[in-house]
């Protein structure tokens, strides 16, 4: 049996008056990769950004319901956003390294936490880059600008940056949508490798990607969960007609 890491119960989400998520109930399991799939605009990013309270920075949002992370209610503890985000990291759709050196990008989270020990920072930066399969490519130019890297390398840098503070859960919002197939394959390999230590939740519009990498898949349509099950089950034996239509490409 797998442990549940995050439990979403009765979640409604609004941008102003416009409701985006409806009554979402969903579990994410420890050390598993869960994919969120669904047509564009169905609320995948919104749901993902509820999990680290990233939506909080948008004015006028409203959240009803509960999200439990290890029994800890994410939306009850008012002032712990910073703590939540240290435990639940995020990688964005477009690679977004800071305008700093490669080294300083990876060390950012540690510096934010007030880590001063130079040797410790160096060690963690190296380990994080290694975990993100980037170390060999950048070890001779850690002080170059992060913008000097290719798109795929920048995205792996962003993964290394997230890994450096050793988050429990990693959220990824279509991390490969701007990348070519080779760069995509590298990231997929790396996600499969790091799930031993982290729980991974990934939004993807690419069903093949969901099939390739995830243990569980959730199909979302118009802000509602249509189907959630083991990936093989969902793709080979969908229970819901809507899911069947989607994976058979009726939706384009």
């Amino acid at each position: 049996m797998v442990d549940t890491k995050i439990k979403i119960r009765d979640l409604d989400f609004f941008y102003g008056k416009k409701q985006i998520l409806f009554n979402v109930d969903l579990d994410f399991y420890s050390n598993q990769i869960t994919s969120l799939i669904g047509p564009s605009g169905c609320g995948k990013s919104t749901l993902l950004r509820c999990l680290n309270r990233m939506n909080d920075i948008i004015p006028g949002i409203k959240v009803n319901g509960n999200i439990l992370y290890n029994k800890f209610n994410l939306y009850k503890e008012e002032n712990s956003v910073v703590e939540i985000r240290k435990k639940i990291g995020m990688v964005f759709q477009k690679p977004n390294p800071f305008p700093m050196s490669i080294f300083n990008n990876v060390s950012y989270g540690l510096r934010v936490q007030g880590e001063k020990d130079k040797e410790k920072i160096k060690k963690i930066v190296r380990e994080s880059l290694e975990k993100a399969d980037l170390y060999d490519e950048v070890k001779n130019r850690l002080n170059s600008s992060a913008f000097s890297l290719s798109g795929g390398q920048q995205q792996r840098l962003c993964i290394a940056r997230a890994l450096a503070i050793n988050p429990d859960v990693i959220l990824l919002d279509e991390p490969c949508s701007a990348l070519d197939p080779i760069a995509t394959a590298k990231i997929e390999e790396l996600l499969k490798k790091i799930k031993k230590e982290h729980t991974i939740i990934i939004v993807t519009h690419n069903m093949h990607q969901a099939k390739r990498i995830s243990d569980y898949t959730c199909y979302l349509l118009d802000g509602k969960i249509i189907e959630f099950s083991e990936t093989n089950e969902l793709f080979n034996n969908p229970k819901n007609k809507l899911t069947k239509d989607y994976i058979n490409g009726v939706f384009g």
């Binding site: 920075i57 004015p59 985000r85 240290k86 990291g89 800071f98 305008p99 950012y108 989270g109 913008f147």
Partner: protein
């Protein structure tokens, strides 16, 4: 029909070309006038005396002196005095407006600040004369409130809108992704501002400061009204000073056209021109670099 359109387009093009050409010719003409009149002063005044002499007294009965050093220091004092005041205030306001103020507050405050830029400087000078100068005299126990400090503060207020408005634009135009990435790593709002947003906009902020600097160097009417205009070598910000711009404005009325005094004022104008030219040139370089860095 098409033929007609083409002709009109052609005429418009030529006309616009002519207008830009005229502007260019006039600008070059001004520069040459400044240059060739100013340079003539040095046939009679030694470069060394001009730049390093601390006495400026072209109308002395016995031996006139031509040193602009005191005036130059006056210009520097007012320029840097005003920036010392405008830079911290400007950057803090820009950060506040860009990252902290609610959209409503920003909508009201930003246009208001930009409006200050539209107040004629003579009006600001008047306000300084009536309110600030007596206050400064009283506060520091001076016999006169017309000092380098007084004009610095008012010139600072003049350049503040430029610094705030450009810096705010630079900060708000940073990709939203920088901020999100930082917050997602557990940084607080302040850490994000300090460690990501300000460093990322630094070259833009520097460019804003340089633009303010250019304006402060060339400002004339405010210093004429508030700096006191003494030609003595200034030793502190509480002294009366006479920046180069004010000196030209004061003396140009009383010189004989074509005389040495006349030429020497043009030479001072040339120095001012070169200073602002250099400042603009440097800020262009910085802005250029900034734009390239964030093509992203």
């Amino acid at each position: 029909m098409n033929q007609q359109k083409k002709i009109i387009e052609n005429i418009t093009k030529k006309w616009l070309f002519l207008v830009s050409l005229t502007t260019l010719v006039i600008l070059i003409g001004i520069f040459f006038l400044l240059f060739f009149t100013g340079i003539k002063a040095f046939s009679e005044i030694s470069l060394f005396e001009f730049f390093f002499g601390t006495n400026w007294n072209p109308t002395a009965y016995h031996e006139p002196s031509w040193g602009i050093f005191s005036l130059f220091i006056g210009t520097l004092m007012v320029t840097f005095g005003s920036l010392a005041f405008a830079i911290p205030l400007g950057i803090m306001s820009a950060i506040y407006l860009a990252e902290i103020a609610s959209p409503k507050v920003r909508e009201i405050v930003k246009p208001t600040i930009e409006m200050i830029a539209g107040i004629p400087s003579v009006v600001l000078g008047l306000i300084g004369l009536l309110f600030l100068s007596p206050l400064i005299a009283k506060l520091f126990g001076l016999s006169s409130g017309l000092t380098g400090l007084t004009s610095s503060i008012v010139v600072g207020i003049m350049v503040l809108p430029t610094i705030i408005s450009i810096s705010e634009d630079v900060i708000t135009s940073l990709p939203r992704e920088f901020k999100e990435a930082s917050l997602a790593l557990g940084a607080t709002k302040w850490q994000t501002i300090k460690m990501v947003l300000v460093p990322a906009s630094l070259s833009g902020i520097v460019a804003a400061i340089m633009l303010g600097l250019g304006r402060a160097v060339g400002e004339t009417i405010v210093v004429l009204m508030l700096a006191g205009n003494s030609r003595a070598f200034p030793t502190s910000i509480f002294d009366s000073v006479r920046p180069m711009t004010a000196n030209i404005a004061i003396e140009i009325k009383e010189v004989i056209r074509g005389g040495l005094h006349y030429k020497s004022l043009f030479a001072i104008g040339l120095v001012l021109f070169l200073m602002t030219f250099l400042i603009n040139f440097i800020s262009d370089l910085i802005i250029d670099k900034h734009v390239k860095k964030y093509k992203w």
